[in-house]
């Protein structure tokens, strides 16, 4: 008769988690009971009821459609700019230009990545004004960091022989790169960029909360003036975008073959 070994670790973590949770609730001091009873509860119920039915008037649906298009445009342009920026930053970050450039380039990439897109969006609204351009720039800057790091890893793994052979035949360094290394890394670059675009569509939808355009900005405005019917339509549009993108990318992946 073999006794099943008692794995202590998960249970210990569980116990610690329960303790941490209790401490957190205590620290926050939020009176959840009061929140969900009495006046507060009926207020919330009325707020929630305001979302049904969604505003489906042709005029607002058209505006929502434009918001969707704007969101897609923000994400697309932002990702394209980020791919260019990332490709550029990847060159020093992979150590191809000089060993000394590698650490500072990597630092730049890490800073770009670490600061969340929304924080970048606040900066960009300051720098470029309210509207979708700020959202585009925010995505471009943050995603450059993400893609730049991925691209740099791809570059480091690319074989140096083709470009070296061309340089040895008198070619300039840039053309040698274009003919020798780029064909090898480009498919991987494109794959990363497409993958990130998917994520950026979700992001583009919410950056508008700080004034960076798209559905987010419309939603923020609608909620600020308590036009919950409009808000409902906009949220439905967001869900629709996310779902369609999920389904489309899964289908595309299967189609392009794994």
């Amino acid at each position: 008769m073999s006794a099943r070994p008692f794995i202590a670790a998960p249970w210990a973590v569980l116990a610690a988690a329960v303790a941490a949770s209790a401490a957190s609730f205590a620290y926050l001091g939020v009176d959840f009971i009061a929140l969900f009873t009495g006046d507060s509860a009926s207020q919330m119920a009325r707020f929630a009821a305001g979302f049904f039915p969604p505003d489906l008037s042709p005029e607002f649906v058209a505006r929502t459609g434009r918001g969707v298009a704007e969101t897609l445009a923000i994400s697309a342009l932002g990702t394209i700019l980020a791919a260019a920026g990332g490709a550029l930053l990847a060159l020093p970050a992979s150590g191809r230009w000089s060993v000394w450039l590698r650490p500072p380039a990597r630092l730049v990439l890490n800073v770009l990545r670490a600061i969340p897109e929304l924080v970048w969006a606040v900066f960009m609204v300051l720098a470029a004004g309210l509207g979708p351009f700020a959202g585009c720039l925010a995505l471009a800057v943050h995603t450059s960091g993400v893609l730049g790091r991925l691209f740099a890893e791809t570059l480091e793994n690319a074989p140096p022989e083709p470009a070296a052979a061309l340089r040895n035949a008198g070619s300039g360094a840039t053309v040698a790169f274009l003919y020798g290394t780029l064909p090898v890394v480009l498919p991987q670059y494109v794959s990363y960029a497409l993958y990130r675009w998917e994520y950026n569509i979700r992001m583009a939808a919410v950056l508008g909360f700080v004034g960076a355009g798209g559905l987010g900005q419309m939603l923020y405005v609608s909620l600020s003036v308590f036009k919950t019917h409009e808000a409902s339509t906009l949220i439905l549009a967001m869900i629709a975008i996310v779902t369609v993108v999920d389904v489309a990318s899964a289908w595309l992946r299967r189609f392009l073959g794994s």
Binding site: P162, A164, A165, N168, A169, G170, S171, G172, Y179, P183
Partner: protein, 245 residues
């Protein structure tokens, strides 16, 4: 000239030094009258554009098309903008096709390199050097993946190209009979030193056996038949002195 010798003799290193891909730690190198390692960068680039190397394992990106790979031979002469433009649309399709046709490969003009066999890839590498029209051709085992018929064709193309344009050709070969057939000067290399430097008529069987003694008891040939020492069919190099010493 043909360089023969057992594996590890230093044939590849010799060719790399000649092609300025490897810097010699001792001794000197003179190409075209000057030491390449003393040249300024632009001058070195110009010199390198005049040297074409056929690699044993062609350094071709898998997804690149044959036409682009061949045209890349002239990147040294084209400069940035022409090279960039040729990526979008090949600038000299006829020229690339002509080079490939000499190697019986012109129907693969627009195929991707990863759709080619090893032997076909090697020939694309040769075509690239042909298209480059260099003043010095270095070939490192250019036919290692080819069958006897294609090997003969390819070495023949290289040798006649060198003759016709009056430029130097240095080829390292594993098959001794190919070397003896096509080259007027045979250099035997062993353990990094020159064992002999003779025209084919003066190369004797004992010399070859001694050269390859460490590697095998049989002298390597294209079809594994005993090497037939040629009865004097030396092809004279027409006029031009070798580019390097």
């Amino acid at each position: 000239m043909a360089v023969i010798g057992p594996s590890g003799a230093g044939k590849t290193s010799l060719l790399r030094v000649l092609g300025t891909a490897l810097r010699p730690t001792r001794g000197g190198l003179t190409i075209g009258g000057s030491d390449p390692w003393r040249l300024a960068r632009p001058a070195l680039r110009r010199l390198r554009a005049r040297i074409g190397t056929v690699h044993q394992a062609p350094p071709l990106p898998p997804r690149q098309r044959v036409v682009t790979a061949v045209l890349a031979g002239r990147l040294g002469a084209w400069g940035f903008w022409k090279g960039f433009a040729s990526l979008a649309h090949p600038l000299d399709i006829a020229g690339a096709r002509a080079a490939l046709a000499r190697l019986d490969l012109d129907e693969r003009l627009f195929d991707r390199c990863d759709r080619l066999s090893g032997g076909q890839l090697q020939r694309v590498g040769v075509a690239r050097v042909l298209y480059q029209r260099p003043d010095l051709i270095l070939a490192d085992e250019p036919v290692s993946a080819l069958d006897p018929q294609l090997s003969d064709l390819t070495v023949g193309v290289l040798a006649t190209e060198a003759q016709a344009r009056g430029v130097s050709l240095v080829a390292s070969l594993h098959a001794v009979d190919l070397a003896l057939k096509w080259f007027p000067r045979i250099i035997g290399l062993r353990d990094g030193t020159i064992a002999f430097d003779l025209p084919p008529a003066r190369v004797t069987r004992p010399m070859l056996r001694e050269l390859y003694a460490a590697e095998s008891r049989v002298v390597p040939t294209q079809d594994n038949e005993p090497v037939a020492l040629p009865d004097a069919r030396p092809r004279a190099v027409a006029g031009a002195p070798p580019l390097c010493r």
